[in-house]
């Protein structure tokens, strides 16, 4: 009796099987790639008012804390209130159409709805105050904000990224005097140890405890 499959058919079948295996691999790779893509590194995010950190920080040299008032004391760095913006813009560029929204907010009392750039999951309890107190500079996590016309995410903000630092913080510390400067280089390794000791860091075990960030 004749075979069910011709030689060609057999070849096709084999290729099909191979293709199937290939597809599985591809799916995994795709998943990983998409996960990476969602870190949104370096993607400027459009805001209701095209606020430029590059101009305010880079050109005008305004200190971070002028607007982010609670960064040293509280968990949230604190977004500037409308009043803070108007502190200057009641005088400067007050008739700029770009700033109309600002004046409207002032008049109506309705807050401006900014798009969030740095978002942590709700079950992560991050505290700016402690990080600043220990010498983690703004630039360490937020990148060169002074070069961002529109703010973007500079670091992945993934758990493993947090852990990298929590496991070995010394390498990421700066002297408190330079914490808010954008271009201060990391101190050489020998000083890193000193900084770590000066900051009275908690033990590595403590800093990698689940309860340090999760409740």
């Amino acid at each position: 009796m004749s075979a069910v499959f011709s030689r060609r058919a057999v070849l096709v079948v084999r290729l099909a099987v191979l293709a199937l295996l290939g597809l599985c691999v591809a799916t995994v790779l795709l998943a990983v790639w998409r996960a990476r893509a969602y870190e949104q590194l370096g993607e400027p995010i459009t805001q209701p008012i095209p606020f430029s950190h590059k101009h305010h920080v880079g050109d005008d040299g305004i200190d971070c804390r002028y607007c982010h008032t609670t960064v040293e004391t509280a968990a949230h760095a604190g977004l500037p209130s409308t009043a803070v913006c108007l502190g200057c813009h009641s005088q400067l560029f007050r008739d700029q159409p770009l700033l109309a929204l600002l004046h409207r907010s002032q008049a109506s009392g309705q807050p401006i709805a900014w798009q969030r750039v740095h978002v942590l999951p709700e079950f992560v309890y991050f505290n700016h105050g402690v990080h600043v107190a220990k010498g983690v500079a703004c630039v360490e996590c937020h990148g060169r904000v002074d070069q961002m016309p529109l703010a973007w995410r500079a670091r992945p903000l993934q758990m493993q990224w947090c852990l990298d630092c929590h496991r070995d913080p010394a390498a990421h510390l700066r002297p408190t005097s330079q914490e808010f400067s954008m271009d201060a280089p990391l101190p050489p390794p020998d000083q890193a140890g000193l900084l770590a000791r000066a900051a009275h860091l908690e033990s590595r075990r403590r800093m990698t405890d689940c309860s340090t960030c999760h409740r």
Partner: protein, 970 residues
């Protein structure tokens, strides 16, 4: 990627009324819902790996428009204020997060609190955010036709209106009042009122016309007590008890640890008085508690000597005891001895004699006026008055005010044009004999003001929404008369007015703003720097030395001895009407935390029950759960029975406050309305009982009272020592916490089983309410449960709070496949919700069964106001994750972060857990084992210290101090 539980703060819209819109991150709710659906779908779909990585929803941030003073941070702000219950002020600190009141703490400088709270104060924050609160002025369009008794009107007949509309209507009405020759009659009905401001404004209102009158209605007030003090002294007095000064306290049908505005203070004083005894000094001077009670109370459970008697027999006991100090009492008055209690009586008399002026006798609801008079007289003869008990002018005294009965007569006589009901709900809680709904309909104009659209509101022509205590400026007096200023912790959520503001409107006062009204009241006749006084009083939460001065009284007249009636005929029972431990008089019926709070003795939730003693139940052939028909004269009622060992024979206890018809989504139809049996304001009656043959299913949290010989709740003789824990050799190395080692010690000698810890924990940790059916399925979510055990010696009950033990060798951690429950370096057994997949092996492996599982989506994700109540520092758990006591890890973290930020080291007392801060007897201690001087280290060194189920080698961090047995067991 793991879109697990979310913090409520991020789910909340800034409320238009909030004074300082918190900086909230607003998540689009639709996204939230989709997320859950996606998750569900994902679980089913094969393409899980791929869909799991869809991007997080685009979030927005809403900054302040103007940053408020003290805004911005994420630390809680506390406002000293007071929670007003039954007219009396309970001093509290209202903890606000991001501008929202989320947690109540006691006020250490308030005489009724001393830093602790009862369950009601804890639950009051949920009352503030109750989604069923009345939000708008309502006017009834047409007069409801149906006037049959018991009928209430469909809300359909009521339309929402406005304050201006009401004010207009009122102005034309008020004109008629002032008509000198017989203008319109105005009656005002309020609850007990201690607020100086409100009373002044009320007086002004009443002064507007010749035919005005004030009536006071307190459904739970023990009228007999007032009559008794009339008999004794010819005036109404209020007794302020000083349990700490007493060497012997006798409670007759009374529960000083839970009844009345001074309850928390009584418990605290008692506990403090035992300090020396607890530290091992067997001879230490501690008040000996004697309880003769008809129905079990917290005081009786903790008493050194206790007997359960019907009120009649308790009075017999009182007369016999009093005779020892009052020769004028004739043997005829004394009556026959009661052999059943001879031993108790003997010991009691001896103790009273030994105590002399340091004795304290307390009479409670259910006693006759004569008995109350005799109690006062006895206290006086003992020399206790002025020492262990101070007599003061009742802070809520309402001279000249009529009773509810007077009002009903006036109404039925058609003599009332206008009736104002302020903060009362007579349509529900008036004795049924008054047939209140019918009487109320006789008023030509009925205006009701309250927190809820309740039974009375539905009968009223106008309903006016009142502000919650935490939304208003006001004042009120404490149990000892000292005044407290109420300050708002948030501006009114809805268009509401405080009682003072409303009274100002009614009285046509030029001032309308609560703040101004209260200030005017206190500025009046006050010399010196008012602003300094004002600031100091607000900061302290109480007005300095404003306590009522003690009254001078003449020698008490002895009351006549009532005809000695033997026990009621065996078929008749004494029905006792008591406040429900959760719903109180019904005003808390719509509070889910309280409804789900296990009642101290029955561990019953979402119900009230007719309590019977085993002997009586046997005689009547009734078992727990049987529905019985109770009959008082012509009135009858069906209620499920509960057989309780501590109950007195021939007494049936009927908790009031349940069976509400219009309480709200939570409280409607929970339990039965015992008020239906009441003939008048008396709190006891003679009732008959028959079985109906039907059965009722209860939702109970503890099924097995008793220890089965397992030493879970240990007791020790005074000055005694527990056998030392023999060291066990373990395979695993001992757990080391280099930095801090958190631990908790619970003193069972102090615990009175009041449940304050349970509900404080619920408020602090966003613990969901699951409802009756789920509780019945064994799924109550309380992180700290209070177990009750019958103690071997006498009928006393022991209470044992059981939170997570935070075992150093935790069995739960061993079996979790994903490491969702692990130890942190400070010895906390942490539950990582966002890692938990819900195998529930940890719960099976927990010997203490303290883990709670979200079998369904329990936490309400849709009701905005409930979201606003939640603590933003604590994750709201999603369905399918395990949870349990975390030692208030958020409070530990707050303290640690502060220490890390400022460099100041943590000291003992920096971390106070929610249960610890609420506890009225300071039974719970929490601290760092690494700190040699800390409170817990000392406690662990006590001779009474033990670890529960230590033989399992779990090495718990939560340990206990054994309860001290009475000197000579009864």
């Amino acid at each position: 990627m793991t879109l697990a539980a979310h913090r409520p703060a991020s789910a909340m819209h800034p409320h238009p009324h909030a004074p300082d819109d918190p900086q909230v991150i607003h998540i689009d709710r639709a996204a939230g819902v989709n997320r859950r659906q996606v998750l569900a779908a994902m679980a089913a779909s094969a393409a899980l790996a791929n869909t799991a990585c869809s991007p997080p929803p685009r979030l927005q941030a809403h900054p302040y428009v103007d940053l408020p003073e003290a805004g911005g941070g994420n630390l809680p702000l506390y406002y000293a204020s007071a929670f007003v219950r039954d007219g009396f002020a309970h001093g509290v600190l209202v903890g606000t997060q991001e501008g929202r009141p989320v947690k109540i703490e006691g006020n250490p400088s308030h005489p009724s609190s001393l830093g602790a709270t009862d369950v009601y104060a804890q639950a009051s924050v949920l009352q503030l955010w109750d989604p069923d609160r009345s939000t708008v002025v309502r006017q009834r369009l047409e007069r409801g036709g149906d006037t049959r008794p018991g009928q209430t009107h469909a809300p359909a007949a009521i339309a929402s209106s406005s304050w201006s509309a009401f004010e207009a209507a009122w102005r034309e009405r008020a004109g008629a009042l002032s008509d000198p020759h017989g203008g319109a009659t105005l009656r005002v009905l309020t609850g007990p009122m201690t607020s100086p401001t409100e009373r002044a404004l009320l007086a002004a209102l009443l002064a507007r016309g010749p035919r005005t009158r004030w009536h006071v209605h307190a459904p739970l007030k023990d009228v007999a007590a007032d009559d008794g003090s009339w008999m004794a002294f010819g005036r109404v007095v209020s007794q302020v008890r000083h349990v700490d000064r007493a060497r012997c306290v006798l409670a007759l049908a009374a529960d000083p640890f839970s009844d009345g505005p001074g309850a928390v203070r009584h418990a605290m004083d008692w506990s403090n008085a035992r300090t020396a005894l607890r530290e091992g000094d067997a001879g230490a001077r501690a008040p000996a508690l004697f309880a003769a009670e008809a129905t079990p109370g917290l005081f009786g459970a903790r008493a050194d000597h206790r007997v359960a008697l019907s009120p009649a027999r308790i009075e017999g006991l009182l007369w016999r005891v009093a005779a020892h100090w009052m020769p004028e009492i004739t043997p005829a008055d004394v009556g026959l001895a009661d052999p059943a209690v001879a031993a108790f009586e003997q010991r009691l008399v001896a103790a009273l004699r030994a105590a002399g002026p340091d004795a304290l006798v307390i009479g409670g609801a259910g006693l006759s006026a004569e008995a109350h008079a005799l109690v006062l007289a006895l206290n006086q003869r003992l020399g206790a008055i002025g020492r262990t008990v101070t007599l003061i002018e009742p802070p809520d005294a309402a001279p000249g005010a009529g009773t509810l009965a007077d009002l009903v007569d006036a109404l039925n006589a058609g003599a009332v044009d206008t009736l104002l009901v302020l903060g009362a709900n007579p349509a529900y809680d008036a004795p049924s004999a008054f047939d209140m709904p019918r009487a109320l309909r006789r008023a030509k104009l009925l205006v009701h003001a309250g927190l809820h659209v309740d039974e009375t509101a539905l009968l009223a022509h106008w309903h006016l929404p009142l502000s919650h205590a935490y939304e208003q400026w006001g004042d009120a007096r404490a149990h000892d008369g000292s005044a407290t200023l109420l300050q708002p912790a948030i501006s009114p959520l809805y268009d509401t007015r405080s009682t003072a503001e409303l009274l100002a409107l009614l009285a046509g006062d030029p001032l309308r703003d609560g703040h101004a009204l209260v200030q005017r009241q206190w500025r009046a006749g006050r010399s010196g720097d008012f602003d300094a006084f004002w600031r100091a009083s607000l900061r302290a939460g109480t007005v300095a030395d404003s306590a009522s001065p003690p009254l001078e009284v003449h020698a008490a007249r002895l009351p006549p001895r009532l005809a000695l009636q033997a026990d009621p005929a065996t078929t008749m029972l004494t029905a006792l009407f008591v406040p429900d431990p959760a719903a109180h008089d019904g005003s808390f019926a719509n509070n889910g935390w309280l409804q789900e709070l296990p009642r101290p003795f029955t561990k019953l939730t979402w119900d009230n029950a007719a309590l019977l003693s085993p002997a009586t139940a046997r005689r009547l052939g009734v078992a727990t759960g049987d529905v019985v028909r109770l009959q008082v004269d012509t009135r009858s009622l069906e209620a499920p029975a509960w057989v309780l060992a501590q109950q007195a024979d021939d007494v049936v206890t009927l908790p009031l406050g349940c069976g509400r018809r219009h309480a709200g989504r939570v409280g409607n139809g929970v339990g039965f309305d015992a008020g239906a049996l009441r003939a008048g304001t008396a709190l006891s009656a003679s009732a008959s009982l028959q079985k109906t043959g039907r059965h009722h299913a209860f939702a109970v949290t503890e099924h097995d009272i008793g220890q089965h010989g397992r030493e879970l709740l240990r007791t020790v003789a005074a000055g005694g020592r527990l056998p030392p824990e023999k060291p066990r050799d373990a395979l695993y190395p001992p757990f080391a916490s280099p930095e801090h080692a958190w631990a908790m010690v619970i003193d069972l000698d102090a615990c009175i089983g009041c449940n304050a810890c349970t509900i404080a924990c619920q408020a602090e940790n966003n613990i969901p309410v699951v409802g009756k059916s789920q509780v019945a399925l064994g799924r109550a979510m309380h992180w700290i449960r209070v177990d009750r055990h019958d103690l071997e010696d006498d009928g006393a009950s022991g209470f044992q709070p059981v939170p997570c033990m935070h075992c150093e060798q935790a069995p739960c951690e061993l079996v979790c496949p994903v490491g969702a429950t692990v130890h942190d370096s400070e010895g906390l057994n942490v539950q990582v919700y966002n890692r938990c997949v819900g195998t529930r092996f940890c719960s099976n492996n927990c010997p203490y069964k303290v883990r709670r599982f979200n079998f369904l989506q329990y936490s309400d994700e849709t009701t905005e106001t409930l979201k606003a109540q939640r603590n933003p520092e604590v994750t709201v758990r999603q369905r399918g994750v395990m949870e349990k006591c975390s030692y208030c890890v958020q409070r530990v973290a707050r303290a640690r972060q502060h220490a890390q930020r400022t460099g100041e080291p943590l000291v003992d007392g920096d971390v106070v857990t929610a249960c610890q801060s609420a506890c009225p007897t300071r039974a719970i201690r929490f601290g760092d084992l690494g700190d040699a001087g800390s409170d817990v280290v000392n406690a662990r060194a006590s001779a009474r210290h033990y670890a529960m189920l230590a033989e399992l080698g779990t090495r718990p961090r939560t340990t206990y101090l054994a309860r001290i047995r009475p000197a000579d067991p009864a």
